[in-house]
Symmetry: C2
Subunit: 338 residues, 2 copies
DNA sequence: AACGTTCGGGTGAACGTTCGCCTAACCAAC
DNA sequence: GTTGGTTAGGCGAACGTTCACCCGAACGTT
């Protein structure tokens, strides 16, 4: 367990009171150069480092940011987590904060977890992700007036600090790109209507289709889970009709669905990128290794994590953050599937 | 902002001294049933929750477990992180601990980071991952006698608590499976010799080959980075000769290399699973969606995270852990590539 | 010679807990 | 009526910081 070097030991070593050592270390002392040097030497000799728990106790701050994420289902992967965590970690460390990850729970227990972290003084703020309409965490934190930043948007009438990625713009880019490649019959594999993220992305699809003067056919909008299996089935339906009738391009709201679509198209004997174009969303790391490599949309995750923490730190310090609502632009990654 | 319910306020509310409240809450009091009820009611009415920072300060413990992981390169993915973190989180929470993730740095700075977390009293122990031969963290923590558990093994002469996955056994399973499918000419795409994990896995390859009475040909052992590109090039070399000379099966030490091999084989016009069998390692989530789905080896990550924390918690409490070195068995996932 | 002013540093208290020790009151037994 | 044992709960201290305030000495000014 070894030695805990405290202020008092440094003080004894330097022959001053321990409070004086504290002052010197915090730079707010009127001390002679000699004693300052003596103190610094003692600090160095003993390897003193201030105990953060005591500091936090004194400051009535934990300097911790709570974060929880929904664990991915077994055959999915959260390829974003690593990047998002790393960028938050880095930004937080630079501001003297640390991250406190905690297990994700559903329903009422979820808000209980947030409340408990606040009431036990463990965290000074939260970054919340996977937000959706009517997110109970947002209502709770707003009412408590507790600092938080959401990665994602929720109900339009709610006003809270957030960072999000412009999914509509992402799909716009995808559709515009397809149009530039002379596609006219474009279908979408989308998510259920209760998904805020899905609706945002789909809105971009509609807008770009309208702007391009293309017809939006209801039967070419497939809504379902963001899984491989749904993507496969949806694409099989979409591509089932004759080559003059079926869509020539499909955009999916995530890579997993797109990969399902890839399989369906391949099973129908279609050449992808030739007979049918397919575009995903996410740039999952494996997507580049598919046959053919998947054209997809990449989100600036690193930037998002950074912004979340930057805003949150300002809030936790009681400052007005420079920006309150940040919308980051994704980027189309052109490979061979479209 | 509003939560400052302390013991004192509860005490005033209940008409007792605050220390008595503390005693009641910690169950070590001699108190009459009535005052106990009064206190509990006050606790409940005010929504009192003990301040953890103060508790930790008093206990001279942070109840935190430090954890850091090497961030993956842009086009790779750490599909393990989510599972590993989640399982550690869960196990830690059950024991009253939390995780403190911190940014990964290389070289001397790395040990500095560990030292700083110890000296500032932020953590009571570490889980370290991505360990290799001569890991400076292990030397440092052993010398400091600071509680830690390694996920992975290091130099054989070092004795420290660890959890690892039996990579040798994983490759054994792969080779045995190939042998049972009548393969006789089996090649391996491996990692550089300075990789402890790689050598462990490769050892299993050798053992199974020997046990099966198969010849190990040096030119059929390709060593290089665990990347798609190296896997592709290595497989291109291995499969370059005539069909009677080249290996009929390739095992790779991770899925990324295996996918590279898939591409190379396909480019040579070989049918995978037919002309050549390919087996990966990791069960990366996308692997199941490849053409053909990749046969691979799955590691019990959830279990590993759980075990790490279980052992560490015992160490941090000063107990002798029930087990000190845990070796978990991976599992062959049979799909269509072999 | 009396009076500010700065410099150099000490002192006590507080943050919210927990823990060991003390004590007042009650009761029973001698 | 003294002793002794229990019961119920109070009290002071401590964990390692920081912060507001205090104080003596040296110096210069009127």
């Amino acid at each position: 367990m070894s030695q805990k070097v405290t202020l008092k030991q440094v003080a004894i070593h330097a022959g001053v009171s321990y409070q004086t050592v504290s002052k010197v270390l915090n730079g707010q002392a009127q001390v002679s150069k000699e004693t300052r040097d003596r103190i610094m030497k003692a600090v160095h000799d003993l390897g003193y480092r201030p105990n953060q728990i005591a500091r936090n106790m004194r400051a009535k701050r934990s300097h911790m940011i709570g974060y929880s994420w929904v664990p991915t289902s077994p055959n999915q992967v959260n390829h974003i987590l690593d990047q998002f965590l790393s960028s938050m970690l880095q930004e937080a460390a630079a501001a003297g904060y640390h991250l406190l990850p905690f297990p994700f729970r559903e329903g009422q227990a979820q808000v209980d977890d947030y409340r408990e972290l606040i009431n036990t003084g463990r965290v000074d703020g939260f970054v919340i992700s996977s937000v959706n309409y009517n997110d109970p965490r947002i209502a709770f934190l707003l009412e408590r007036k507790f600092p938080f930043v959401a990665f994602g948007r929720s109900n339009p009438e709610l006003d809270f600090p957030n960072v999000d990625i412009d999914g509509a713009n992402g799909l716009c880019q995808a559709v515009e790109y397809l149009i530039s490649r002379h596609h006219r019959r474009i279908a979408a594999i989308a998510w259920p209507e209760d998904s805020r993220v899905g609706n945002d992305r789909l809105r971009g699809f509609f807008e770009a289709m309208k702007a391009g003067g293309l017809e939006i056919r209801q039967e070419w909008i497939e809504r379902g889970e963001g899984t491989f299996e749904f993507g496969r089935q949806a694409a099989a339906r979409l591509l089932g009709s004759s080559s003059s009738e079926r869509p020539t391009a499909i955009v999916a709201l995530n890579d997993t669905q797109a990969i399902g679509a890839l399989h369906a198209a391949r099973q129908l004997g279609l050449e992808i990128g030739e007979d049918v174009a397919i575009i995903g969303f996410d740039d999952a790391p494996m997507s580049q290794y598919l046959f053919p490599p998947l054209t997809t949309i990449r989100q600036p995750i690193h930037e998002a994590g950074r912004e979340c923490v930057e805003i949150l730190v300002a809030l936790m310090k009681g400052n007005q953050p420079l920006k309150r609502n940040v919308l980051l632009q994704p980027e189309l990654i052109r490979r061979n599937s479209a």
